[in-house]
């Protein structure tokens, strides 16, 4: 236990340093082998921590700087099942992405593997830490690696522009976090989350706390890509190499939501607890806007990776709904949703990467009927559509169940219709693409007046493209199958709910960190196992919608007619970094004013 809590962070980081050290010395293939081994080891360490923290959350003080007189001096890791689970999940996705990339990104000189490992180390540190500034440091480390990885295909002008938009918006978000952190330090004189929480609770509220809350939350929500901070996401995902997209969509974006949830429950809850009903309204509005906007934009894309990116935005909206309920059930649902969605979306991005590898394009219309030979990629796409709709055994459906139940308990039963709509539309978009590409259904030419323009893609792989090796299809199939069968894991919902109760216990957290006083958390009620079968209906609707769209001209025209006013949305997603920053300013100002006026 003296080393284990550090391992998820230092294993990938030191491997990255060693890879940089040995670059040009290692024979071809070795660097990816080492990187994969390191990611697997990280996942194992994460899993051990998860197992351990289920019994009792783990507190680890770096340099043995334990609190003196209840004042925290050093940096602590406060490891609970949700944080450890997220770190493990990040490592698993990284391993899958590295395996997929091993044959085609194996140019030893370009530091691809070292960067991915730094990215992984940062994500692990981010999910385990209990210190506010340490969280910021890992946030920046994660960002630095992500910016570089996003622009990996430097010969693609779009990649550079997407990475630039990503980097500028996220960096400004990080400065908002830092500003909020400085405000909190001025008020509390502490950097440890538990101590901040205690100091804030002792002090009467005031606008400073609200402004700091708004800045820190929004800074992290920029990473989570909720409306109106979502603009960078589609650009970055459309251009990043496919294995990197897996990590961006599957876990990095969710890290933003995780950070918000963590700081809310660890720091602000004791001060703002009375305002949970208002906060619920705020976050549910954000979630609904994100889910609907993402779903609509998703359906009107023809670039597959951009389509998947907008579907990620939509699903992030649904996760926001889960955590925005501010109850254990909602958080547990969002956690399961994260895993279920991350696996399915990871598989889908890898399958899109396979198409890009074979046909040098991810444009849905250009690929019309050409995917007939790529049976496995077609299978992944089809299964992915099932997963996104929330078909019962999938992780998404388990998350949906918990979220719906929790929503009903606090009087928001209509939330299920939002997730029904978002699931059906994103699933229909993927099904439409599947039928077009792999079965050649629908018209060959576009009769789509509005919608997104055609895009050019740069190749991301070299060597022969005659066949797709199993090392590329394997991870895609495994990820997507894991995603749609996740619910078969025993005790899934109960463990998630229990972890959420531990997570949402600010008094227990403070006692554990500052007084080394383990308070037992109350046992979770066993969640009723009532799968709401809404996923099946969503899937049927999605299938009908996709087929009608492909075969019926009147249906197409009608849908275009309905979607026409939404052309203005396409105009807003202008790819102009100035626009994005203007929206970011708007979002943070609006969030801040709402906090000041409604949470007094």
């Amino acid at each position: 236990m003296r080393l284990l809590p550090v391992l998820p962070v230092v294993t990938p980081l030191i491997t990255a340093a060693v890879l940089a050290l040995l670059t040009k010395l290692l024979p071809r293939g070795w660097s990816s082998l080492i990187a994969i081994a390191s990611a697997v080891a990280t996942a194992a360490a994460g899993a051990l921590l998860f197992e351990g923290s289920l019994q009792q959350p783990i507190i680890y003080w770096f340099g043995n700087w334990k609190p003196k007189g209840h004042i925290a001096l050093g940096i602590s890791f406060a490891i609970d099942p949700i944080g450890a689970g997220l770190a493990t999940f990040a490592a698993v996705l990284t391993a899958a992405a590295l395996i997929y990339a091993s044959k085609y990104f194996d140019s030893v000189e370009n530091h691809f593997h070292a960067l991915i490992l730094c990215f992984l180390g940062a994500m692990c540190g981010f999910s385990l830490t209990g210190d506010m500034f340490n969280l910021f440091v890992f946030f920046e480390l994660m960002s630095a690696a992500a910016f570089a990885l996003c622009a990996y295909k430097t010969e693609d002008p779009g990649a550079l522009q997407g990475a630039l938009n990503f980097a500028v918006t996220n960096t400004i978000g990080a400065y908002f976090v830092l500003t909020g952190l400085a405000l909190l330090y001025a008020r509390t004189g502490a950097l440890n989350m538990a101590q901040m929480s205690e100091a804030l609770a002792a002090h009467s509220g005031g606008k400073l706390v609200l402004v700091a809350f708004a800045f820190v939350s929004c800074g992290y929500l920029v990473k989570a890509a909720v409306v109106p901070f979502h603009f960078w996401l589609a650009d970055a995902h459309a251009v990043a190499p496919s294995p990197v997209c897996v990590l961006f969509s599957g876990v990095m974006v969710e890290m933003g939501l995780y950070a918000f949830t963590r700081i809310y429950w660890a720091i602000f809850d004791r001060t703002l607890h009375a305002h949970i009903p208002s906060l619920r309204v705020l976050f549910i509005s954000i979630g609904v806007a994100t889910a609907l906007l993402g779903a609509i934009m998703c359906f009107s894309q023809r670039n597959l990776k951009r389509l998947l990116a907008f579907s990620t935005i939509s699903h992030v909206g649904l996760m926001t709904l889960g955590i925005g309920l501010f109850t254990a059930g909602g958080l547990a649902g969002a956690a399961l949703y994260t895993v279920g969605h991350g696996l399915v979306k990871g598989g889908l991005f890898l399958a899109a990467g396979i198409l890009l590898h074979r046909f040098s394009t991810v444009d849905e219309l250009d690929l019309h009927g050409r995917g007939r030979t790529e049976k496995w990629a077609g299978f992944v796409f089809f299964a992915g559509a099932l997963g996104l709709a929330g078909l019962p055994p999938s992780g998404v459906s388990a998350g949906d169940d918990l979220i719906h139940e929790a929503a009903q308990a606090v009087g928001y039963h209509w939330i299920r219709w939002i997730s029904f709509f978002a699931g059906a539309v994103t699933s229909a978009a993927v099904l439409r693409a599947t039928c077009r590409i792999f079965f050649g259904w629908g018209p060959r030419r576009a009769d789509e007046p509005g919608g997104a323009p055609k895009t050019q893609e740069a190749r991301e792989t070299d060597r022969s493209r005659q066949a797709t090796p199993a090392i590329m299809t394997g991870p895609a199939v495994v990820l997507v199958m894991a995603g749609i069968l996740l619910s078969f894991t025993p005790h899934l919902k109960r463990v998630a709910t229990q972890s959420s109760i531990t997570f949402q216990n600010p008094e227990g957290y403070t006692a554990r960190v500052l007084r080394a006083n383990p308070e037992p958390t109350p046992p979770a009620p066993v969640p009723a196992d009532n799968s709401h079968l809404l996923g099946i209906v969503a899937l049927v609707c999605a299938a009908i919608g996709a087929v009608c769209y492909l075969f019926s001209k009147p249906f197409r025209s009608t849908s275009h007619w309905i979607l026409r006013p939404l052309g203005v949305l396409h105009t807003l997603h202008s790819g102009h970094v100035g626009d994005y920053v203007a929206f970011l300013t708007f979002g943070i100002a609006a969030f801040g004013l709402v906090c000041i006026f409604c949470l007094k």
Binding site: I14, A16, A20, G63, W65, L115, E155, L572, T585
Partner: protein, 249 residues
Amino acid sequence: MTRRIRQRFFLISAAALALCFVWGYADLPPFGHVSSSYANIVNAISVPQRHITDAVTAVNFDVRGFDTLGEEFILFTSVLGVILLMRRTKDEPAGDHEDKAPGRKVPPVSDAVRVTTLLLMAPTILFGWYIVVHGQVTPGGGFQGGVILSSAPLLLYLCGSYPKFRGAAAPRLIEIAEALGAAGYILIGGACVALGGLFLENLLPLGTTGTLTSGGMVPFINLGVGLEVSGGFTLILLVYLEELMEEKE
């Protein structure tokens, strides 16, 4: 959005944001009167318990050493990122690099300039080294000294000896130094565990306050950071320089 709409939209939002700033900042304690027991404790223990006279170094390399580990890796990652972004891709013509194009004219440098810059080299390196090793005693440390050290190769460029420097495979050595610095930090942390403590626990003898060996493991971390920072900054500047030189008209 057109430029005008964007600016108006921004100005309205910025006005609202300014309100948030005003409300938030007006609630701060008056300037100069913020109090923090954390800071007071650190100031009080840095010399008696750690034999480190510069309390900022005590925070950076001892109390909050793990943050600095993250910070080192931010630099390390950025260096890798810059190298990745600036790499030559296949579709680019393999430009006429000076070592591939021996006929390239080296910009004429007068002997006076050459001698002056070379004379500047020694004090720069000495000064950088001085700043690095006195980290726990006086202001400065691995980071500040490292950046100063990284300006030495630049002087070489100024005096026209850069091709020789490059020819001596020095960039490769710098890469190794940088990676070693980054790995070293983790290895020191791991060594603490091997000695029976927690990660980054300062178990070495603390030495005499005010000397270069005071502070237990802090001087070692400091050296590692100095290595990493000087290597990292040199690499970033080198990549930029190479980029500048690779396409000659």
